[in-house]
Symmetry: C2
């Protein structure tokens, strides 16, 4: 069975519906992974993940390496056994967080929002790998390409990622280029280590090259030729949506449709997911849907930007559900007034219910996109969902 | 249909199995109510409460009066509609918290552990009622017997309680006696207000009288003759278990078996519940099972005091469930190692899973007691569960 099968291609865009065949079952694409950073989707039980039909959970190698450690997780039967989640899983390589913690906040950084005054924990970065301090207790850790694969092998996710240097936005083209070549050499070392371990996990190479089309082209070709079954697009994609669109589209056109392409860290806005799909991306992950939920920012079909903030006083007496058009457990049962009250009273249940809704909503949004592709009505869906302006 | 029916009496003790017929269905006794202070059992969804078969939830009038207010809850269809919980519910009168917040921490206070330096919010207490400051924003609130019944009428629980002064442990007998008589007069006012509102809620009178047998006797007789369908035993029951046992037993013998008797705030230790049942108590409530859970103190059948603390380092690598003898969702799925990790990492899911287990455990402990009474083997159950020493 092929790792990736394309079932249907959209006629007007690069969008496609497909299936990724993982060790824990098939994953229908396009799809967004739900982030479970520390081996838990915050506040949501595995039984609830199943109820929501979450297709895939993404955990962070960096955090799990520091605590509780890959050996303990391996002893529990890997992440699936430790968390008691039986669906497909993905782990990142740890690179993003090392550089995020190292430089300040990289999510701002790669979006070109400049640096913040965070404690810098990245002590050394060279060809061999990275040495950094644990944010938990200050102890020293090393992450090399080999080590990343070894850790992820023990974590046991279905899909794993190579170690890369996630280059920030503000660096020079020269830095970006040298870094990209190092990431390519790290990829080769990851592939060797992956073979040595006889791992059955699907390895994803990562495209770097920042905002420079010529570098992205080189990187896409390098990764596509490396033989990894999947490909991630990482690093800074530019400072606005237009630049991001161009970069993503170009990457897709070089990579082609034979391997699933994962757009790392994108998915906070539904329109970004829509555009990503149109530009040929198959899978996504983003911490925003669950992080936003914890602050009361909830998906809502009829809101102008598809989100409302449930903590606003206008919802204090509102007895209607979060979203009349949503049929999740939360929207079928609870009022805005109750959820507004729970969040303002800092009650855990509020965070749980908000997370539940946002996860359900975004999972089903991706399902609707897939269905529209299958039924040759993607453009129609896009216009009816977002309206003329946004599209 | 009678409000309370005794189905079976134990031959050796005052224990009995019964049924309380509430507006939201029958409640099998003996039973413990699960505390949902602020209109939510912390971290547990109503769907999970149903899955656990929680028989009854107790909410606190005091907290709900301050936030979000009884009018909003009434607008949502009462607590049942607001929380979307469809089982029997109980609200206390608000008295306990007023005096708790007023004097420091009353739960320590009524157990004779002395006072703590908390901000005192009780401004005035007299025959009319109490005036106090909100702990949320400092604004002034009044609670009178009539007001308590009005608020609870809007909250809409099946069982409600009269306003009482919960006398602390350290006060004189003279103070306790005067306070008790005022509580009796407040009871009469509550009954009048309850009738005026044509409320169908089952009103519970509250026995006071502190640690003084003669006062407890007077109070029991007064409450039993008042005609309320249920009776609570409140206030300080003494500074040790022997004194508590004596007080409770005596109260039972005066009140008799025709009305369900609720022992307010007791249930942190399983042996206290066992003794309460043996001394004739029908229902209980205690915040400890859920509060303890949040700090990792979990019920465990084979532990000497029936609890383990899951955050201890000895559980870090323990792949067995919390309690091999428990068949709850948590024990059927997760390891001690995972829960230890979640709590240490301060992950919400840890608190949820721990709460789930403790609620399930204590609910089922009460069911086992009931079954043992029905099958004439209460003493046998007690010895097999607690061992010879504790009994």
């Amino acid at each position: 069975m092929a790792f990736f099968e394309v079932i249907k291609k959209d006629k007007k865009t690069r969008a496609k519906a497909g299936v990724i065949n993982t060790l824990h079952g098939p994953l229908e694409t396009p799809m967004i992974m739900i982030v479970g950073t520390k081996a838990t989707v915050k506040g949501i039980t595995p039984a609830q993940l199943k109820e929501i039909n979450v297709p895939c959970v993404l955990c962070n190698t960096y955090h799990l390496y520091l605590n509780p450690g890959q050996d303990l997780i391996a002893q529990a039967g890997g992440l699936h056994g430790f968390m008691k989640y039986s669906g497909p899983m993905f782990t990142d390589s740890g690179g993003f967080q090392i550089f995020s913690m190292g430089h300040g906040t990289i999510s701002d950084e790669i979006k070109g929002k400049g640096n913040r005054n965070r404690q810098k924990t990245l002590l050394k970065l060279n060809e061999k790998g990275a040495i950094f301090k644990s944010y938990l207790d200050g102890s020293l850790y090393e992450l090399t390409p080999e080590k990343s694969i070894q850790i992820q092998h023990k974590l046991g996710a279905d899909m794993i990622a190579v170690l890369d240097e996630c280059t920030p936005f503000h660096v020079t083209k020269r830095y970006t280029e040298r870094s990209m070549h190092m990431t390519h050499r790290w990829l080769d070392r990851c592939i060797i280590e992956h073979k040595r371990l006889k791992s059955k996990q699907a390895l994803y190479g990562i495209v770097q090259g920042g905002i420079y089309p010529d570098l992205r082209k080189i990187s896409c070709e390098y990764i596509a030729n490396s033989g990894t079954p999947g490909i991630c697009i990482g690093g800074s994609l530019g400072k606005d949506k237009a630049q991001m669109d161009e970069t993503v589209k170009m990457c897709h056109d070089i990579i082609g449709d034979t391997k699933p392409v994962h757009l790392l860290g994108i998915g906070g806005d539904l329109i970004d997911l829509m555009r990503g799909v149109e530009n040929g991306m198959d899978t996504f992950d983003c911490v925003a849907p669950t992080r936003n939920a914890r602050h009361g920012s909830l998906f809502h079909t009829k809101a102008p930007n598809k989100k409302i903030n449930i903590t606003r006083s206008e919802y204090r007496n509102d007895m209607s559900p979060i979203d009349e058009d949503c049929d999740c457990y939360v929207c079928r049962n609870f009022s805005k007034a109750y959820i507004n009250y729970l969040l303002r009273a800092k009650e855990m249940l509020g965070v749980e219910l908000c997370s539940y809704h946002n996860i359900y909503y975004i999972i089903n949004f991706m399902r609707k996109i897939r269905q529209a592709i299958l039924e040759d009505r993607l453009e129609e869906f896009k216009i009816s969902f977002f309206g003329e302006e946004l599209t």
